[in-house]
């Protein structure tokens, strides 16, 4: 059934009429099926960023410590001592919906490859997860599979999973989000890039054999699901973390030599995107002989091999005189190694299979004439600010706290992170739950990296610009809260169908918000990923620009966590007006999801954060927790639970209703535990930073200002109930 490439097939492959016309123009003849396949994946949303590129340009990407910003496999920032951190976040949303375990597992595998491709040893993984309503029949199975898959892959490969986030919302019923982040360490002068060079140099394939896995996965990741999602399923990719582990070790061993000219992992669109990108970036040509590709199945066509998304594979250009030494390393690790082509000076990709030229495409127009859309946008009007005084509190503080701490969005995530090996590597200074950011020491150094992922989708849905700004600010705040200097972020922009103006409007606004925060906080974006078409039957997810933040703390011993100790003063730093709009209290207790989300005052954010960091590094702070979901009382309760110590809280200001003061989600705030509040508050006043004592720690219960007391034990019971009972273990 040899099909002719034509406009109809192009449409099946996801290219529209204009795009197909451009293919004809570039080729000067009808393309072969393989050629059409190459165009379709390279011009898919996933690979070409055709809808998002015009907006992404607004994001700041530079700072003195940025070595490589967006455009490489991962972002690279200098962290001192001749080392840099290499990191990126990527989505595996669609595959995780189809097959939660393998989808999530291969997501972890893919992001690991993006990082070790650059020469970095992965030292930490994080994952940002959004699931549907717990009451939806599919949610439990998806949570189970995704968490098992992330653990199954990360644990086996031996990289600690140290942080992440989990939210639930009905908008994710048909489209869970699985965003995985990897962080690695490499010497600054040993970073590997993908631009091919050296006419005649061998193009080498290493790793697993090629099968018919995930063909058109990249195209599918760029299309909306309908009721026919089942029918669209490509062969599901199965992760092989054991092979990935061998691949990491073999690649790093080879990278210690001077054999590699260029290297690129085979991710989405496999051999096509890796070879096209390597040759394209290097301004050279590439000739591939598919007969040499290690194959797992028989009778594969050129089209299938070029589009296969089999996992755990890499493509490299080697110095010819080092080919044998390289082969020996891969043999030692038991991995396939095959010379499948040469670098040429033709500026074209030429693919041969069984003596036939199956594809011959000029690379420059393939890249330069890739579609670029300025899609129409409409922005929803901003919601009105909700006046806190107009919302009544029927539950009281103690009961409200208990309800909030038990809700799926605020309950303990221990059930999740206890399935992830968080200590492997022997460098995890702050494990999940111990601090606002995970802290992982750099082996052999005093310094550590601080890592976090953040986004509040309900804020983004209400006001995408404010939400985008808030996501970046919260990441910055979480790094600051452990004492780290925030350096840079990676992002994963998860949105619906970009052809809908309101989705594209939200996208544009979120980026605007992110950019303003990055600018003000000197917190550039160095890598990222866009995932569009997160819709099922026309229903889009909440806009979710997930932010992965990275910071550095020069002396890991100075990092602080959230755990309270007895007999300390609790001080709230940052300004409070009692912002209930879009708060969890409003949703869980007030039963409404409305109002404007809390605004972020960027200059104040920076001033407050810089002050807090200075105090932490000066050694006067015993514990620190930023105030986020659930507000002030939830922050204090989380500190109490982490330290297994109670606290007594004083009455808040008279001009703010109690529930608004204690549950409002005003931004830019931290709760600090200090031995001497008077000295601390004086220092804050001198710096012009709002700081007020809100109580002190001690005892076995939490006493709230309206008189109620709850024991830490019953708070813990409420906090830890949801996941085990929902998941049945």
């Amino acid at each position: 059934m040899v099909r002719q490439a034509d406009a109809a097939l192009a449409r099946e492959f996801g290219l529209d009429a204009d795009e197909y016309a451009k293919v004809l123009e570039i080729m000067g003849r009808p393309p072969s099926v393989t050629e059409l396949g190459v165009f379709s994946v390279m011009w898919s949303e996933h690979c070409s960023y055709k809808s998002s590129r015009v907006h992404l340009k607004q994001l700041p990407t530079k700072a003195p410590w940025v070595v490589h910003g967006p455009g490489e496999n991962a972002g690279v920032v200098e962290i001192g001592h001749g080392l840099c951190a290499v990191f990126k976040m990527e989505s595996h949303n669609h595959p995780s919906f189809i097959e939660p375990y393998q989808g999530a597992a291969t997501g972890v595998g893919g992001i690991l490859r993006d990082v070790f491709t650059m020469g970095a040893r992965p030292i930490a993984n994080l994952n940002a997860l959004r699931f549907g309503d717990p009451a939806h029949p599919a949610t439990k199975r998806i949570v189970d599979g995704v968490v098992r898959g992330i653990g199954g892959y990360g644990n086996c490969v031996g990289v600690p999973t140290v942080g992440g986030e989990v939210n639930f919302h009905p908008a994710f019923n048909g489209n869970p989000l699985v965003n995985a982040m990897t962080v690695g360490i490499a010497p600054v002068d040993r970073i590997f890039l993908s631009a091919a060079a050296g006419v005649g140099n061998p193009v080498v394939y290493v790793g697993s054999k090629t099968g018919r896995d995930g063909i058109h996965g990249a195209t599918m990741a760029s299309a909306e699901f309908g009721a026919d999602a089942e029918a669209k399923r490509p062969t599901v990719q199965v992760g092989d973390p054991f092979t990935e582990k061998l691949l990491i070790e073999a690649c790093l061993e080879l990278m210690a030599t001077d054999a590699i000219v260029a290297i690129q992992d085979m991710g989405a669109a496999g051999l096509t995107s890796s070879s096209v990108e390597m040759a394209g970036k290097g301004g050279v040509g590439i000739a591939l002989d598919l007969d040499a590709v290690p194959q797992r199945e028989t009778g594969m066509s050129a089209y299938e091999m070029m589009l296969s998304e089999s996992q755990e594979r890499m493509l490299m250009v080697l110095r010819p005189e080092r080919e044998d030494a390289a082969r020996a390393i891969f043999a030692k690790w038991g991995l396939d190694f095959a010379v499948i082509g040469r670098i040429t000076d033709s500026g074209r990709i030429v693919v041969r299979h069984q003596g036939v030229v199956e594809a011959d495409i000029p690379l420059a127009p393939l890249a330069e004439q890739a579609p670029l859309y300025q899609r129409p946008t409409t922005e929803a009007p901003k919601p009105a600010v909700l006046a806190a005084a107009r919302v009544e509190d029927r539950l009281g503080l103690a009961r409200g706290l208990e309800v909030l701490l038990a809700c799926p969005d605020l309950c303990s995530r221990a059930w999740v992170w206890e399935q992830y090996d968080s200590t492997i590597g022997g460098q995890t200074v702050k494990r999940p739950g111990a601090a606002d950011a995970a802290v992982v020491r750099v082996e052999g150094q005093a310094m550590a990296l601080a890592l976090t992922t953040d986004c509040t989708p309900r804020y983004c849905a209400a006001d995408p610009e404010a939400g985008g700004r808030q996501a970046v600010a919260e990441a910055w705040r979480n790094l600051t809260a452990v004492g780290a200097r925030p350096l840079a972020i990676t992002d994963n922009l998860n949105f619906g169908n970009p052809e809908k103006p309101e989705v594209m409007g939200a996208f544009a606004a979120a980026i605007r918000g992110m950019a303003s925060a990055c600018e003000a906080l000197n917190f550039p974006v160095v890598s990222g990923n866009v995932s569009l078409y997160n819709e099922t039957e026309g229903r889009a997810i909440l806009p979710t620009p997930a932010i992965g933040g990275l910071g550095v703390i020069d002396d890991a011993a100075k990092a602080v966590g959230i755990a309270l100790r007895p007999w300390l003063d609790l001080v709230l730093v940052g300004a409070t007006q009692g912002w209930l709009g879009q708060s969890l209290w409003l949703r869980e207790i007030g039963g409404r999801e409305d109002g404007a989300p809390p605004p972020v005052d960027l200059p104040a954010e920076r001033a407050v954060g810089d002050f807090v960091r200075t105090q932490i590094l000066s050694g006067t702070v015993r514990a620190c927790h930023d105030v986020s979901d659930g507000g002030l009382l939830v922050a204090v309760a989380e500190m109490a639970l982490a330290g297994n110590v109670g606290a007594r809280l004083s009455t808040g200001p008279r001009d703010i209703p109690g529930h608004a003061y204690w549950f409002g989600e005003d931004q830019g705030r931290y709760v600090l535990a200090v031995p001497d509040h008077a000295a601390f508050v004086r220092a804050a006043e001198a710096a012009g930073i709002p700081a007020v004592r809100i109580g002190h720690s001690g005892g076995a219960g939490l006493t709230v200002p309206d008189g109620g007391t709850i024991s830490i034990a019953s708070l813990r019971a409420a906090h830890e109930r949801f996941f085990p009972s929902f998941m049945g273990s």
């Binding site: 697993s208 062969t235 199965v238 992760g239 092979t243 996992q311 038991g334």
Partner: protein, 81 residues
């Protein structure tokens, strides 16, 4: 009545376990081992005494729970003992 459900990855789906077993067998000196695939077998004690109905029930259990039909296929054997 006993029903045995055998669940194997569908043809074409990567089977890392089978692959690793094949390599290990070769390492142990077993020659002439080609492809190796690994699957699961679930043996169910059923109260049902009619073989046809037992098979139908086991098939339904496989579809609903025992096999992940996205990547796995299954066969059912019923054996009255």
């Amino acid at each position: 009545m006993k029903a045995t459900v055998t669940v194997m990855l569908k043809p074409g789906v990567l089977d890392p376990q089978g692959k690793a077993i094949g390599q290990a067998l070769a390492g142990l000196g077993f020659a002439g081992v080609g492809e190796v695939r690994m699957g699961k077998v679930i043996v169910l004690e059923l109260a049902e005494t009619d073989p046809a109905r037992a098979r139908t029930a086991a098939e339904e259990m496989a579809r609903k729970l025992l096999a992940n039909t996205v990547i796995e296929g299954f066969t059912v054997a019923v054996d009255g003992a």
